[in-house]
Symmetry: C2
Subunit: 512 residues, 2 copies
């Protein structure tokens, strides 16, 4: 018998491996049936033009793995102990892989979820996409230097499992930073290092969210949070926001397990929650027994006044879980974020973190700890805060230049603003499509990584514009193009007034 | 009025910040009641010995945050709009933090879990703890060089969100490595980079495990997997293992959502699943509709014969999820692992990964991709495989030297062996305690990061010994000490025979 085998002398794979794979395939595909004798090693070696040793070693391996058997006087044959059912219709290795659903699973896939839009699927030349740091802002020189230093003294740190809550040095550096920056008073024990905001939200969801439990969010809110809770089969309860933040009076008195808010710079509207609202919210949490997630995603960028003390810093009933990230201030590819937890959640969070991933990788944590501890982080923040402020000023100036008294919210902080369009303009989604055709990206709430539950005052006539990742030349050119599009598509005089806007009561009009 | 404020001129915090914090605290604690006038700025500056400007700026910030209000002719006073309920009994910042349970949450914490023992909580001088690479094995020089190269060409890679499934270059390098090494044929699209084995298990659990669904595991099995499924409220179904691996005939015909196995080197017993068993297992999966997780945690270390083709490489019904890790071959602090998924799970896994953490950090992925692609990884594996083989040989030789014909399983692969104690020896847990007192760590199954459901033949008289992290001098000294302890605590002649062992049918006796 000659086996249908072709070896390639110039392939990367050794001849013995090629031979092994092909005989195995013949067996598993049923083309060599159980009991079939294999050719003598010398004969097969001659057939294939390889050394007899290659064949002998291959047979030996196939014997060891159980594909072949051997008996004195009979020789080598295909194993009789391979179960019949496994041998038919095996897919050849170069055949196209199975279609989705080939696996005839009688259980429906328990996971149902959708993923948030973090990367703009259709990037544009003048793209005011949200939440992106300046691509050139990463302090690569300092990072390179500190990475070299960490590697030089790494010792045995790469091989060991570490504390799942994260590197102590980094947790300490974060706490030291948060005290003056956000009015947070906590010990390093209360900090868990997570893979960015999303990693933090996921950890909280594992701790606190169970099927059908109620999670309240702002409406509109951040997509990544809403989609996550939804995938945990929570019942989402959207609560309106106004200029002072979430409307606490509209929260149910009880029955809510968790509330997700963005007090420093409401996502996506940009409102800052007032102190009065903060204190009322904490009071609600105490009475209702709910936990609050305070997502402080871009609080490092405050352009006017001081930031308000974080909810966590005001909380005296251990209700607030503070969530911070380095994705905005440093870079998202570090995947570094952190939770500051109420004491009663520290141990459960540490356990959950161990079960989720046994903790964050070491090197980036060590470098970040040094970067903060050396004071370089504060310097870096001041530098990019200034750059972002100039970009924001440029954006607002250009909008005013073309459209007069524009109604903007969120301009005192963060990396994006919300622009409430005059009635004479096309609606948000239509405008988005019109300008996208000209290479300009501005976004309706739903397109801009926000979760709009509908029924919200901002759904139709609000667009969001991120300014942090575009230089001033691009900002100007982008808004100029936008103006051209609007000029051709509006239904009213060239200069709209604030009264023309859909939200006359807004008092946070443009103040540079 | 003189406020009870003390500023420290030499503290790290600026005077203005100290002043702000202390006045805020007075307000929130209720010691300064709503409506109370604040001292004139000049008076307070005199009192504290600071410039008037410091006081003015502090007042301004407190006004901006809503703690204070001001009115012409009245001056500055504590805000009237602070809700009364929030002002009493505030904890002072230096007071000890709240006790656990201060948060009066009416909802019980949904999360219930325990975390696996990855780090030995009580490390010993001669510690045969499991799953630890040689602490000096990490290829730090090559890693340092490749890290420098990646950083030099990082461009904008640190600032961007990336593909949640992981860096394409790494997924490609893994697929290229797995083909010849494990007989796996897959495309990079099927690979998701995860945070070590645990990150992979967690992702699978999110996809496939829902409350009360049935997850079958080997008995005994790896703690990290069992605890994870347990925390997802799965019903665990332990299935016995023998020398050929999991006993397929004892798996229920239906109703199992997921099966977790370790075919290359059963954890903790070290058995290699036979080919016949593998094929029968795949057949069972096809019939029952269950998915199989193939955890190949230490398959890089094979000391005798070739490794069997992975289950994934034999699967023709898209039932197998292959789980690999670099925690054993490189180091656990990289937190790098990977899943190779059946096609129908690729998109759900990508979505779940985005919701869990938006993907793995960039730098280590880029370096690992280069490390594999350059061929350095293969060289590294050969080098440490040789070192571990010598350590294994040393361990087995020393056990034979003291105890004669010892009954060992799992010695052909991996980083640990299981030793089945003769009847004349103390039981596993008792022996563990006896030798721990002498600085030697050997472990009963339950202590050795295994999940022993009980009712298993190995619970009482099997100990596990990891050999990969100890040099030969320590291995010899540790086993010599162990022998002394046993000599004082055994109930039979100095040299036991295999027949003395509790598992006479075991055929995998010591073969060096």
């Amino acid at each position: 018998m000659q086996l249908p085998i072709v070896l390639c002398q110039t392939a990367r794979q050794p001849l013995q491996r090629q031979l092994f794979d092909q005989i195995r395939e013949l067996v598993l595909s049923g083309r060599l049936k159980p009991g079939t004798p294999l050719p003598a090693s010398r004969a097969l070696a001659d057939q294939l033009g390889v050394s007899r040793n290659t064949v002998l070693l291959t047979y030996e391996q196939l014997l060891a793995e159980g594909y072949l058997q051997t008996r004195q006087a009979v020789g080598t044959y295909v194993s009789l102990e391979l179960p019949e059912g496994c041998l038919a219709a095996r897919r050849a290795p170069d055949e196209p892989a199975a279609e989705a659903g080939v696996h005839t699973c009688p259980h429906p896939l328990p996971f149902k979820g959708r993923s948030q839009a973090l990367v703009n699927p259709h990037p544009l030349a003048y793209d005011f996409w949200l939440g992106r740091p300046d691509p050139h802002s990463f302090p690569i020189k300092a990072w390179h230097r500190l990475t070299n230093r960490a590697l030089a003294s790494a010792g045995t740190r790469f091989t060991e499992y570490r504390e799942p809550a994260g590197l102590f040095e980094l947790r300490k550096a974060i706490v030291d930073h948060l005290g003056p920056a956000r009015g947070i008073s906590a010990s390093p024990d209360q900090v868990v290092i997570v893979a960015g905001s999303q990693g933090g939200l996921n950890l909280i969801a594992r701790l606190l969210v169970r099927e059908d439990c109620r999670v309240a969010t702002e409406n509109p809110c951040y997509q990544g949070a809403a989609f996550l809770f939804e995938s945990h089969r929570a019942e989402l309860l959207p609560v309106p926001v106004d200029e002072d933040g979430i409307v606490v009076d509209l929260l149910p008195r009880s029955g809510v397990q968790l509330l997700y808010v963005t007090p420093s710079h409401q996502y996506p509207m940009g409102f800052m929650m007032s102190l009065e609202r903060r204190l009322r919210l904490l009071d609600w949490a105490r009475r209702s027994g709910a936990y609050i997630i305070e997502d402080d995603y871009d609080s490092d960028f405050r352009y006017r006044g001081s930031p308000l003390t974080a909810l966590q810093g005001l909380d005296r009933h251990d209700s607030v879980i503070y969530l911070g990230t380095f994705s905005k201030s440093m870079g998202a590819a570090l995947r570094l974020g952190y939770l500051v937890l109420p004491r009663q959640l520290v141990e459960p969070a540490r356990t959950a973190k161990a079960l989720i991933d046994n903790g964050h990788p070491w090197l980036d944590q060590a470098v970040m700890a040094e970067y903060i501890g050396s004071g370089a982080y504060d310097t870096h923040l001041r530098r990019i805060r200034q750059i972002y402020r100039e970009r924001r000023d440029c954006l607002l100036e250009r909008l005013q230049h073309h459209f007069g008294e524009v109604v903007i919210t969120g301009q005192d902080a963060g990396m994006h603003v919300a622009w409430h369009l005059p009635r004479s303009f096309p609606q948000a989604r239509a405008l988005q499509d019109l300008v996208a055709a000209k290479g300009v990206g501005i976004y309706s709430l739903q397109s801009g990584a926000a979760y709009d539950f509908g029924g919200c005052a901002y759904s139709e006539r609000t667009v969001v514009l991120g300014f942090s990742s575009l230089d001033e030349r691009h900002i100007r050119a982008g808004i100029d193009r936008l103006a051209e599009v609007i000029a051709r598509n509006r239904s009213a005089p060239a200069h709209a007034t604030a009264a023309d806007s859909v939200h006359p009561p807004l008092t946070t009009n443009l103040t540079l």
